[in-house]
């Protein structure tokens, strides 16, 4: 019979323990885990980037539902355990349900401390602890106004930066004279305060909150010196307290945290504890690395290896605010017998301080330049005697023993025991052997197999360097894929940052996101132009010089430098007049090839550049506009003849196709978009390999999406069934708008849907009426700026320079 392991708390510590246990191949336990939050285990450290808009919730999930299923873990979310019955070895939840255990793991974590001043229960006063808090803060940020963050520690500053990026006017109140006084000395704190204020966040130190003012909702804060500050939102980030109530009531020994032995046993040997609720050797920890070390010990012990013991941790800190590099480790209090080494470059914003005791490193503070944090951490943990390199140690590892090394050589020189990922305690040897033994080839692979760089992500560079060292040239650093060589950022990061930082021009993006080239390249410029265009409709001015020639000239360049021209033919329907006009144009301009395309249009191939405007003028005169056959946008809507003619037709598929084309034309999308409408399931218009397809049936319309018949061949998946044409329009425009807002440049709908999940697309478009309607509305809003025939604009004289050479050069001048 399997033993029953019950876990209270579904946070990072508990999740990591289970993972360690399963990694050992252990199947001795039936695991039940209770989580108070109504969701799976996510990376709490990444709440700050979620708040600032740089990440999404989906990206910070550590274990999805699938993981619990695969490992046979009975996950109970949204359930609060209110009592432990030690005598009968069971736990009882709020509703009185009982679950018995053989081993119990308490992982209740901590709760945010709320200063009990008058008004702390008003609406608009929140803590910064879980995703619900982040939701509340984002809602407040959407309304704008003033935010006050009480607490200038790690969490408070991350909250402040996030709210500021969301557009709020933010003030940080800090009781102590300097920010982050537990991790930073006053010099580094000064540089930090300066940097924070430069970003437009006000900092008030020595600020003691006397009361929070407001009737129902917070209105202001009064400090004890009488100052009053207006506030629409107050975030309390003054610290956390171990959550010990449940343990204490069960009669376990509790001090500040739950007292635990080196085996992380509580005073009841069948009850273990892990995480921020633990007190071990009079220390309580609030950072992830120690929790993971504890988790590892428990997993080993549960697996029968009692030699594993937890002996305490040295913690280090990094601030996760984009653009601020800050690191601290160990103890840096002034003391007799301690010496400091300081390097200060105020103009460069760099400050480093090392604290030595008996020629050993006991603490370090780095600000502005943190590249050597791994090395200092190692020196400190290993207690290395540094007397030999005392004079140069502050300059970092590269400076020791000879000329400076390149970063790759520095990583190569690290011993196998060197810790690469501080969050998850992964050393170099483990990563390198995993790369070799398991044939890993990307940072994502390494994350999956070793957890290195899976938490805060600051060691991603080191992991990449290890991959490149181990694999040589075969390492493909494209995953995670930077947009192009001009930036390390991925498409998704750039899209989010454009929104979060309200960047509205290509130069602004390149400045703010620290592009490495002054003018981008042919890969990033068209992508940025699209992102800006789709994010700020009506506001952003299209940058023609950032468009590929086809979109700049609204015709397709051919291999001989001529162009092809495709007039729009709504739904594939044409008329004798249109055909005559096309024939006339072909004659008049001696267009060598006239061809019917796969999308039911007529293509005029071999038009000389200087004839383009005249060709367009003639086509315009016959009532035709650009068919956008060149566009990352709507191309064609292919139709069959439908019930007007066909004996099997069930609906007006041609009419619906025309309606769709008239609504969607002109829109720019990440990649081309092709549609088709078939009048019956015989599917003559081949709707099931299009980006969006509609199959008419007796009862209405079957909507399809995510098909392809190009480089890849893929049948569509069903979105849903609807009954009216109006619904077809609403669902389709919403779907395309979602794709416009989320797709990466050049990513077709099927790739986008695969990346974000076909099910998620259905959830947003089908299950969530409100979102669908808003998306559809946003699509129509954008269309009012986009449905302009580009041919007519050229015919009317726009960008005439595009089509004419500079005045001809007389022959004599050329001699």
């Amino acid at each position: 019979m399997k033993k029953k392991l019950v876990v209270i708390g579904n946070g990072m510590a508990a999740g990591h323990m289970l993972e360690e246990l399963f990694d050992r191949g252990n199947t001795d336990y039936d695991v039940t885990i209770f989580g108070k939050e109504p969701r799976v285990n996510y990376n709490r450290m990444m709440l700050s980037p979620v708040l600032s808009g740089e990440k999404k919730y989906e990206e910070i999930i550590i274990h999805d539902e699938e993981w619990y299923k695969t490992n046979n873990v009975d996950l109970r979310t949204g359930v609060n355990i209110s009592k432990i019955d030690r005598e009968n070895k069971k736990v009882i939840d709020d509703d009185g349900n009982e679950t018995s255990y053989d081993k119990l793991l308490i992982a209740t974590g901590s709760y945010p401390f709320i200063i009990p001043v008058v008004g702390h229960k008003l609406k608009g006063v929140v803590s910064f602890r879980d995703l619900d808090d982040v939701d509340l803060m984002q809602e407040a940020a959407n309304r704008g106004g003033k935010a006050i963050v009480i607490g200038g520690g790690l969490l408070g500053l991350e909250a402040a930066a996030g709210l500021q990026m969301q557009g709020m006017d933010v003030t940080v109140l800090h009781l102590m004279p300097t920010l982050m006084e537990r991790q930073l000395d006053s010099a580094a704190a000064y540089l930090l305060e300066k940097e924070i204020e430069q970003r437009g966040i006000k900092v008030i130190t020595r600020a003691n909150t006397e009361k929070i003012i407001g009737d129902e909702h917070v209105e202001a804060i009064r400090l004890d010196d009488g100052r009053e500050l207006e506030a629409d939102l107050v975030v309390m980030a003054v610290g956390i307290r171990p959550e010990v109530k449940l343990a204490a009531e069960a009669g376990l020994m509790v001090n500040r945290g739950i007292l635990a032995s080196d085996h992380l046993q509580t005073s009841d040997p069948d009850i273990l504890t892990v995480g921020e609720c633990v007190e071990h050797g009079s220390e309580c920890y609030g950072l992830v690395a120690p929790l993971y070390e504890m988790a590892k010990v428990i997993a080993a012990n549960l697996d029968g290896d009692m030699s594993a013991k937890y002996t305490g941790s040295v913690t280090s800190t990094k601030l996760k605010v984009t653009g601020i590099d800050l690191f601290s480790i160990g103890d840096f209090a002034e003391d007799e017998g301690r010496e400091g080494i300081i390097l200060r470059d105020a103009a460069g914003g760099i400050y480093k301080r090392l604290i030595l005791e008996d020629n050993k490193l006991v603490g370090a503070v780095l600000y502005g330049e943190t590249g050597d944090s791994t090395w200092f951490t190692q020196l400190l943990r290993e207690g290395t005697d540094i007397s030999e390199m005392r004079e140069t140690v502050i300059f970092g590892q590269n400076f020791q023993g000879g000329p400076p090394l390149d970063p790759m050589a520095a990583v190569a020189a690290l011993p196998d025991e060197a810790e690469i990922c501080g969050c998850n305690g992964v050393c170099k040897g483990k990563i390198v052997s995993a790369i070799k033994e398991k044939g890993l080839s990307s940072v994502d692979d390494v994350r999956v197999h070793t957890k290195a760089s899976a938490s805060c992500g600051t060691c991603t560079n080191l992991v990449e360097q290890l991959l490149s060292l181990s694999l040589g040239d075969s390492f493909n650093p494209n995953a995670p894929k930077p947009m192009c060589p001009c930036t390390p950022l991925e498409h998704g990061d750039v899209r989010r940052l454009i929104v979060a930082k309200e960047l509205k021009s290509i130069p602004a993006v390149m400045q703010e996101l620290e592009w490495e080239t002054s003018c981008g390249c042919a890969k990033c410029r068209p992508a940025l132009n699209y992102y800006l265009l789709s994010t700020w409709p009506g506001e952003y001015v299209d940058d023609n010089q950032s468009r590929f020639v086809n979109e700049r000239l609204h015709a397709n360049i051919q291999k001989d430098g001529t162009y092809s021209v495709v007039p729009r033919m709504w739904g594939g329907i044409t008329s004798p007049e249109e055909l005559r006009a096309i024939a006339d144009v072909a004659d008049k301009y001696k267009i060598p090839t006239v061809k019917v395309t796969g999308g039911q249009r007529i293509d005029l191939l071999g038009v000389k550049k200087e004839d383009l405007t005249d060709v367009w003028a003639d086509l315009n005169n016959a009532g035709m506009i650009s068919g956008h056959a060149y566009a990352k946008g709507l191309r064609t809507v292919k139709t069959c003849v439908g019930k007007d003619w066909c004996r099997f037709g069930t609906q007006d598929s041609t009419g619906l196709g025309i309606k769709l084309e008239r609504t969607l034309w002109g829109s720019w999308t990440p990649a081309k978009v092709k549609l088709a409408v078939s009048g019956c399931p015989r599917n003559c218009s081949e709707a099931t390999c299009k980006d969006v397809g509609v199959i008419c049936v007796d009862s209405g319309y079957e909507l399809h999406f995510g098909g392809a018949a190009g480089l890849d061949i893929k049948g569509t998946e069903i979105l849903c069934n609807v009954t009216t044409e109006d619904e077809v329009m609403e669902y389709t425009t919403a779907l395309i708008q979602l794709y416009r807002e989320e797709g990466y440049y050049l990513e077709r709908i099927y790739k986008w849907a695969k990346r974000v999940g076909f099910d998620r697309v259905r959830e947003v478009i089908v299950d969530d009426e409100e979102q669908r309607k808003t998306l559809s509305k946003r699509f129509y809003h954008a269309q009012q700026f986009l449905q302009i025939d580009p041919w007519k604009e050229f015919v009317d004289g726009k960008d005439a320079h595009e089509f004419a050479p500079i005045k001809p050069i007389p022959l004599e001048a050329a001699q």
Binding site: C519, C521, R525, N544, S546, I557, K807
Partner: protein, 113 residues
């Protein structure tokens, strides 16, 4: 520059779009005149050394242009391709003076490598 230049006046700098290009056509050759985001001007033959694509239609970034046909990147300063194989297009001397652009129609001769 060692040779004597024979300058031909082309146009105002403002007639060439920023990060863009205009073409000069003679009986023998098409020359693409580029203007960068820093208002520098460069002139190279409008013919990609790869498969003859019109470089004048490429996206201009820094002092480089990407050919629209197969994305070969050409250095505007000397006409050399930034690809795996050494390839080069003819380049020409250009200058701007008083807001006007002048071109020397005699190609810059590469010194023997």
């Amino acid at each position: 520059m060692t040779k004597e230049n024979n300058w031909v006046e082309l146009c105002q700098l403002s007639e060439i779009p920023e990060r863009g290009c205009r073409v000069v056509v003679t009986d023998e050759i098409k020359i693409a005149i580029f203007r960068t985001h820093t208002d520098d001007v460069y002139a190279i033959e409008d013919k990609c050394p790869h498969l003859g694509g019109a470089l004048s239609e490429g996206i201009v970034h820094g002092a480089q242009v990407t050919c629209p046909l197969h994305n070969l990147v050409i250095n505007l300063v000397n006409g050399e391709a930034l690809g795996p194989e050494p390839m080069c297009v003819k380049s020409f001397d250009v200058k701007k003076e008083d807001g006007k652009v002048y071109l020397d129609l005699v190609p810059v001769k590469k010194e023997a490598a």
